[in-house]
Symmetry: C2
Subunit: 196 residues, 2 copies
């Protein structure tokens, strides 16, 4: 993702940092940062045991991909360790991660509405062109509706024509050209020191 | 605010819609959309009774504005109804609203950090040039630090040189040029129908 945007130099995510910064909220899904993982399997999905996890599948469909040639060279890397009943480290889980979307609840003064902010949507390269992006985005839009929210907000880099076309096809309206500013690191810490 | 951005045509906020969409969260402040109101008074502020409200003043300072000429033609409109002990409709409260900032908790995949998203910051025209913007922004940055967050994110319209200069002076880094897209109204509802 960082590579895609040419921003690898400021990208420092590790498995540990993700673990520390996400998924620790006591809130139910979609009331704090929430990831939807797109998993695929050549077999029917195992029955999910809801009582042992706070994970509930949003959409579960059987698509027929028999006529598509999928060549995933990184199958093992993306093999899911979640077999429907908890984590399974035995590597006998025939389920693979093809993409994800990460959202959090937002609010817009302009639209005077609460909404979902789509922070990241990613479909792995070998799974593009199969309408998985539409599937993920639909799940987000349907969730926003279900929660009585008025919008799904997102930002696209202005050079990213392909993604702009995608969201326009999804029905999203182009509102404004913005610059993203971020106060972090030493500059952020300087504010903390002032309050000592 | 909508006028300032030339977007009055899509702006539909009313007092009722604000009431319905904000301030109903059971979460403590800064765990859902939270507004900081900048109030000023020629008199010392009344003692705040914390036990009757969930409002806690973040910064309370006595600045000397004696050498500044403040001419607020809309004093009555912006007279605060909050006298420190609850709402007071008797109009004898000598406190006035000069500005506000509205934030909500966010998360950035790039920065792999939770943060505060600054949705809106506004200082009324007759109170500009008095460093109130810096005061509000500092309160947000200090709050982000206090909560162990790694950033304060914000977006500025690319034509808005004055605001860009302000945030750069505050230490914020310009990251990317973005387009804001928003799925709302009929286009959003269309996704709900698909799931029926």
């Amino acid at each position: 993702m960082a590579e895609y945007h040419g921003l690898s130099h400021i990208f420092t995510t590790t498995e540990t940092s993700l673990y520390n910064n996400l998924f620790k909220s006591p809130n139910p899904p979609f009331h704090s940062p929430t990831a939807l993982i797109l998993e695929i399997s050549p077999n029917p999905f195992p029955q999910t045991n809801h009582t042992t996890t706070n994970f509930v599948p949003i959409i579960k469909n059987n698509y027929n991909f028999d006529n598509l040639e999928i060549l995933d060279h990184e199958l093992e890397t993306y093999r899911s360790k979640f077999n429907g009943h908890g984590h399974d480290n035995s590597n006998n889980c025939n389920v693979y991660v093809a993409g994800l979307v990460l959202v959090y609840p937002s609010y817009s003064s302009f639209f005077e509405k609460p909404g979902l902010f789509l922070d990241q949507m990613f479909v792995r390269k070998c799974y593009r062109g199969m309408k998985f992006g539409k599937l993920l985005f639909s799940a987000v839009a349907m969730q926003a509706q279900k929660m009585g929210m008025g919008m799904v907000e997102l930002f696209v880099a202005d050079w990213n024509e392909e993604t702009i076309n995608f969201y326009e096809k999804m029905g999203a309206h182009y509102i404004l050209e913005y610059r993203l500013y971020n106060l972090y690191g030493d500059q952020l810490q300087a504010f903390g020191k002032k309050s000592d």
